[in-house]
């Protein structure tokens, strides 16, 4: 984390000032929500599906229960999250189905979370630490589908996507930005 160099830190650091108190600056506005919802994130409309332009969409994450160890991990050490997807300020489509999916940032792996019900809610499980949630408009409700076919209506990234890369750009760039992907 010490590798993260902030422009604001540099500009705002008068010479000779080396130690400050976080108490003096408190309360520190670190995050907007608290509790299990801390890992919730917003899904943004693509406006590609009729009736979704003013909708509010959200994915809420909880570290999955049921583990004897207070926290549930997959075999590779990734968190196992229970993901709940909800859409509000819109109506269920008269035709077709809205389906929620999770996918890796490189979209090389896709998991179907579920078909949204009449209340425009669904839930599923994700075994990645950084991922996208996508809601698509499908003509068929196929529980066996492994990839969406219809247009993307909403998409959003897990809170872990807020970890900022310094390696691909900026003052500390070490690699060609174009060659650097989203990461894991």
């Amino acid at each position: 984390m010490e590798t993260i160099v902030l422009l604001t830190a540099l500009l705002g650091a008068p010479a000779g000032l080396s130690a400050v108190s976080a108490e003096a600056a408190s309360p520190v506005p670190v995050c907007a929500s608290a509790g299990p919802e801390y890992y919730a994130f917003e899904l943004f409309t693509t406006r590609n599906v009729p009736g979704t332009g003013l909708a509010e969409a959200r994915a809420e994450l909880e570290v999955s229960g049921g583990s004897p160890f207070s926290i549930t991990l997959g075999p590779d050490g990734s968190y196992v999250y229970d993901v709940s997807v909800s859409l509000d300020r819109m109506k269920a489509p008269r035709t077709g189905h809205l389906v929620a999916w999770a996918t890796t940032p490189d979209i090389d792996q896709v998991e179907r979370l579920g078909t949204l019900d009449e209340q425009l809610r669904t839930s599923g499980q994700v075994r990645w630490n950084k991922f996208l949630v996508v809601v698509t408009w499908e003509s068929e409700d196929d529980p066996e589908a492994t990839m969406w076919k219809g247009p993307v209506a909403f998409r959003g990234m897990s809170r872990s996507g807020m970890m900022h890369t310094m390696v691909g750009h900026g003052a500390l760039q070490q690699e060609n930005c174009a060659a650097y992907g989203y990461g894991n």
């Binding site: 984390m1 010490e2 590798t3 993260i4 160099v5 902030l6 604001t8 830190a9 540099l10 500009l11 705002g12 650091a13 010479a15 000779g16 000032l17 080396s18 130690a19 400050v20 108190s21 976080a22 108490e23 600056a25 520190v28 670190v30 995050c31 608290a34 509790g35 299990p36 801390y38 890992y39 909880e62 570290v63 229960g65 049921g66 004897p68 160890f69 207070s70 926290i71 991990l73 997959g74 075999p75 590779d76 050490g77 990734s78 968190y79 630490n129 950084k130 872990s160 996507g161 807020m162 970890m163 900022h164 890369t165 310094m166 390696v167 003052a171 500390l172 070490q174 990461g183 894991n184």
Partner: protein, 567 residues
């Protein structure tokens, strides 16, 4: 610590912006030129990924406390070489003399001065039958005061080993006699309750195995292995110095970079095909939570801190936080080499990504020769422990009650280097539920117990740490809700330990636990809310604290009283 000293230890400049704009990878590497060199005050720079540039202004910074190494200037060859742990079977009333002394250890090729109980690593493995009382006479021969805390044991309060609460610390040359009554079968451990970040890290820990009179207490296994999991922070010269007047690494705790099982870096086992091995796992690391995997072997979790689970359960790995214990049965079905590993998704903050990381803890060579088959076959059955189910059932009427108390965790810092403060504030846009690796070694090292205060806060009264004043009576069943606040300067998971009592983890984030076990330590991930039900069964003044050694020293503790049974 004077202000002058503090100012002297933190360089008073930051790298100008123009310098960063022309920084090249080679220049970034040059920032690490202090690695391997003795810095101001005798410090050595903390080991870290040399390919990453360093936060401006921290290149020559050292902690505001002085460095400590045991036996500084002493020739280690003058000390006795520590030897592996020996089992000490003890019957009711038996007495054991335990010396706390300096020893010579060789870890990862480095000969070092460390501490030992009876010159052993780990300390002697004590074994006593349930309901026995064993006597342990402790003599302190190290320069630091010490005590022994009998972790998880519901023993008489005056023998709990907390300085200033249940006893005075044992000074060098002095002795203290502990009478340890063991009412619950299971695996426990003992360690100092004075500067755990130093003494425990230097080797002062050992197990206490309490056996049940029921020969069928655990299911069939071909044999048993004790695995004490630990890590140590080392560079090319040996162990990195600890803080003298207060711990370093106060933000995240001191993560080691050398993994050990039973004090050894290359602990190996052999097994026969189909052999069922019962592992008693104890995590004695200062801060690291392990995710223990057993290759492709089949694993079932049987017991934890203070009891067996209601039901045995198949698991893919064992998540074990500092001070926790788990008993797992593992069957090695396939001949070949099985790696017992710490398998995690670490964080690289420079790249802003998770990456898979595996530390080998131990290797098991599985032979072609088949093990005795009846035990192998019995392994396939998951047993239900009716006595545990019945015991838990007698508390079920309390499960739905509103919390009696609510705690939240947070942290307060002062006088940290400005680069650290600004970076931390910006980087907490996302904080993982658990810290599996030290992703910020330099910043973590520079944060000391003099600058960081970790806090347990009573939500109703606002009282913090030692201000909290809770009183109960024996027989009370108390629900406590602990919320790990994500919106603090540096949120982090906390293994919360309750002394002298036992508790159930009823739920995490409102999701009820389906398979209960009596615990004395449990992890609260960041942003999570854990409901505990504590069986106040043991009178006295007892501690609640975070078992990350540096967090404990940085204030994250308080004591509560349990009065004699109500008439």
């Amino acid at each position: 610590m004077t202000d002058r000293r503090r100012q002297a230890r933190v360089p008073g400049f930051l790298v100008p912006l123009w310098a960063l704009c022309v920084l090249t990878p080679s220049a970034a590497s040059a920032q690490h030129e202090m690695h391997g060199m003795t810095m101001e005050g005798g410090w050595r720079m903390v080991p870290m990924d040399m390919s990453m540039p360093m936060l401006p202004g921290l290149e020559n910074a050292v902690p505001v406390v002085g460095p400590f190494l045991p036996g500084m200037g002493m020739d280690p060859s003058m000390l006795p070489e520590a030897r592996p742990s020996e089992m000490v079977p003890m019957a009711d009333g038996d007495t054991l003399d335990v010396s706390v002394s300096m020893v010579r250890r060789t870890i990862d090729g480095h000969e070092m001065v460390m501490f030992g109980y009876n010159q052993q690593y780990p300390g002697p493995l004590l074994q006593a039958p349930r309901d026995a009382t064993i006597v342990v006479r402790v003599r302190n021969e190290i320069q630091m005061p010490t005590t022994i805390h009998w972790h998880g044991v519901r023993l008489e309060n005056r023998f709990d080993g907390v300085p200033g609460v249940t006893q005075e610390a044992i000074e060098q040359g002095e002795s203290f006699t502990y009478e340890v009554h063991v009412p619950d079968a299971g695996m426990y451990w003992y360690h100092p309750h004075v500067r755990e970040d130093v003494q425990q890290d230097l080797g002062l820990f050992g197990n206490l195995l309490v056996t049940s009179p029921d020969p069928d207490y655990y299911g069939p296994a071909h044999r048993e292995e004790v695995f004490v999991l630990d890590d140590m922070l080392m560079d090319e010269q040996g162990a990195l110095p600890w803080g003298d007047s207060a711990p370093t690494h106060a933000l995240m705790g001191r993560f080691g970079n050398v993994m050990m099982v039973n004090g050894e870096t290359d602990y190996r086992l052999t097994a026969q095909k189909g052999e069922v091995v019962r592992f008693y796992l104890t995590n004695v690391a200062n801060s690291r939570t392990f995710n223990v995997t057993f290759g492709g072997a089949k694993v079932k979790v049987v017991a934890s801190d203070v009891s067996r689970f209601e039901r045995e359960q198949w698991v893919g790995s064992v998540v074990i936080a500092p001070a926790e214990r788990y008993v797992v049965d593992v069957r090695f079905d396939e001949p070949g080499e099985v790696v017992i590993a710490n398998t995690i998704q670490a964080i690289n903050h420079f790249r802003g990504e998770f990456y898979p990381h595996v530390d080998t803890l131990s290797m098991v060579s599985v032979s072609d020769e088949p093990a005795e088959s009846s035990v192998s076959e019995a392994f396939d059955t998951l047993r239900e422990h009716a006595d545990v189910v019945g015991d838990v059932e007698s508390f079920r009427s309390f499960f739905g009650q509103a919390p009696d108390y609510e705690l939240e965790t947070t942290v307060r810092v002062r006088d940290l280097h400005q680069s650290i403060v600004l970076s931390m504030e910006a980087d907490t846009l996302y904080v993982p539920p658990m810290e599996w690796n030290d992703a910020m070694p330099m910043m973590n090292w520079l944060s000391t117990g003099e600058q960081v205060t970790w806090i347990l806060k009573d939500r109703e009264t606002g009282a913090e740490n030692g201000e909290i004043d809770w009183s109960f009576d024996v027989g009370d069943v108390v629900k406590i809700r602990i919320f790990n606040t994500p919106d603090s300067f540096h949120p982090m998971n906390h293994p919360i330990h309750v002394h002298g009592q036992r508790f159930l983890v009823l739920s995490m984030d409102g999701v009820e636990s389906e398979n209960l076990v009596w615990k004395d330590t449990a992890i609260v991930p960041v942003g999570s809310e854990m409901d505990l039900l504590i069986d106040m069964s043991n009178p006295g003044e007892w501690m609640i604290h975070c078992h990350i050694a540096e967090h404990l020293h940085a204030g994250m503790m308080f004591s509560f009283t349990v009065g004699a049974e109500r008439p």
